[in-house]
Symmetry: C2
Subunit: 315 residues, 2 copies
């Protein structure tokens, strides 16, 4: 266990980010972790408000996630989705029967006037989660991609077209007016904050929307704690998802170094995989090389410990 | 088989009405039946638009209904509902996993601007139903009950409180401005219409909302075909549901005769059970006594034949 104490904030997208968030959650005391989650992937489907990254954080921290497929709930069934297909409905977005309960409750809470933050707080409490899971904003931000097949909403690109279109640019619609919630700003302003961790999520699709909202970068820069980013790119490839593919399409070198440079104005330290340790000397900030591939639960906890230890050194 | 021909319209509430609608559907040629369905029970739940009587009509005519419990879909599963309860949500309205698909599709269609009529038409077509299932109106009408426990929305009274409150009066909010859809008016105005049947549904909770909307009674009176009502009360008791209980609470004699008098300005004939044949001479209109209890599929078909035969005699 680390010797220092104090609360920790992690900025996270979906599956990759939630892995490190879980590691941090398990090694920290109860109520010491705030997970600030991307909401740029959120969308409306069948009249329901769906927040994939928030739900991944909820399921992961509540130990309800499907560990095989990496998204959704364990022990899921698909009766509703099958019936939707039989009735001629869209079934490209995989709505599980148990997962639907979360979307129904959220849609109801929101329609009753709750903020997304209040809504997720209630769900997390009902799931017994001893961490704050915070939407980056209560205002709507929608990630859209300009591609060779036109401008696509995130889920259309990511799920329906399985990241096949060639990406030309990303747009975070609404980010120009959206602000971090009070809860996010309070989490970042904690005087005893130990570290802010940018999880190994996709920098362009998952973290950039968080950074793009009004006042978020300033709040990170004001924070008393060191900011550490963990590379989602190992040996020029992404552990999961289209990070490397998008980097190529944007004419960026798919490398941990590119990610470090993307974050360089915000971070105090950068964690990359031992595979990439030759890049350490080229980093724009302090670097740590370690095994960043989180296959097992002990991997998650060990990486969390190392990231916090690295942050403690940088104070 | 009856010798006469021509299309038939049936006015129906939920389960009891759908039984006779199914009998009519099975004995008539394809596309000869229009089922005008009560929408006063419709409500919003978890952000979804739920139309219980329309869904009962869809499931019954598509042969997808759960014949044991009398409502909902056969082979239903309850993963979503169980999860809702685990997450602290309401589970008094029994949303099945497969049933949810219908609510999701409807909610989506409506949010895209479809009328409820268009939406049900599409669902019925996808379910392979060769009859018109028509919402009574595309405007919202909400049945509410003044009770000893206050004014209650229909589902609150019917499902959540299981019809236990004492009913003082019924209100069909919105009926003062709602109109029958063009499709309903066209169905009733067919020059070769053979019969209009008021199904053995609850007169106060299921049929009265249909009759209460602007222009519905006039359209029934204008129609060229005889109007026949079938009693939902047999020997002073309702086959199903709170009909007799409500009649007592409203200080009405729970009897087929009371039902006949309720409809007397609209109907040309009244069908009651052989149990009540002593009441035939007191009816305000022509009467037919037969076995009206529809236990089996042949019962439904036989009663449908007899009702149409009776209508043919009254032309």
């Amino acid at each position: 266990m680390s010797t220092k104490s104090g609360p920790v904030v992690v900025l996270s997208g979906g599956v990759g980010g939630a892995k490190l968030a879980l590691g941090l959650y398990r090694i920290l005391p109860e109520q010491s972790l705030s997970v600030v989650v991307n909401t740029g992937d959120d969308f409306n489907h069948y009249g329901l408000r769906i927040c994939p990254d928030l739900d991944t954080a909820l399921y992961t921290l509540a130990d309800l996630s499907d560990k095989e497929q990496g998204w959704g709930r364990a022990n899921e069934s698909w009766q509703c989705l099958q019936t939707l297909a039989e009735l001629g409905g869209d079934n490209w977005f995989r709505l599980g029967d148990r997962d639907l309960a979360l979307h129904l409750l959220r849609t109801q809470h929101l329609s009753e006037g709750a903020t997304l933050t209040q809504c997720i707080h209630r769900l997390a409490a009902n799931m017994g989660i001893g961490a704050q899971i915070l939407p980056m904003s209560d205002q709507v931000v929608a990630t859209e991609l300009a591609t060779d097949q036109g401008r696509l909403p995130f889920q259309e690109y990511f799920v329906r077209r399985q990241c096949q279109p060639v990406v030309e640019s990303m747009h975070y619609t609404g980010a120009e007016v959206a602000q971090p919630s009070d809860e996010v700003l309070s989490a970042l302003a904690q005087p005893d904050l130990r570290a802010i961790v940018i999880a190994p999520s996709n920098p362009y699709l998952s973290v950039a929307p968080i950074l793009s909202i009004v006042g978020m970068k300033a709040a990170l820069q004001r924070a008393s704690a060191p900011v550490i980013a963990v590379s989602p790119v190992i040996g020029g490839a992404a552990v999961k998802g289209p990070t490397a593919k998008i980097m190529q399409e944007l004419n960026l070198q798919p490398s941990a170094l590119t990610v470090a440079n993307f974050y360089k104005d915000l971070i105090d330290g950068f964690v990359l995989d031992t595979t990439d340790e030759s890049l350490l000397s080229q980093l724009p900030v302090a670097g740590l090389s370690t095994n960043t591939l989180m296959t097992s639960l002990p991997d998650r906890e060990r990486l969390a410990e190392e990231v916090l230890g690295f942050a403690d050194q940088l104070r």
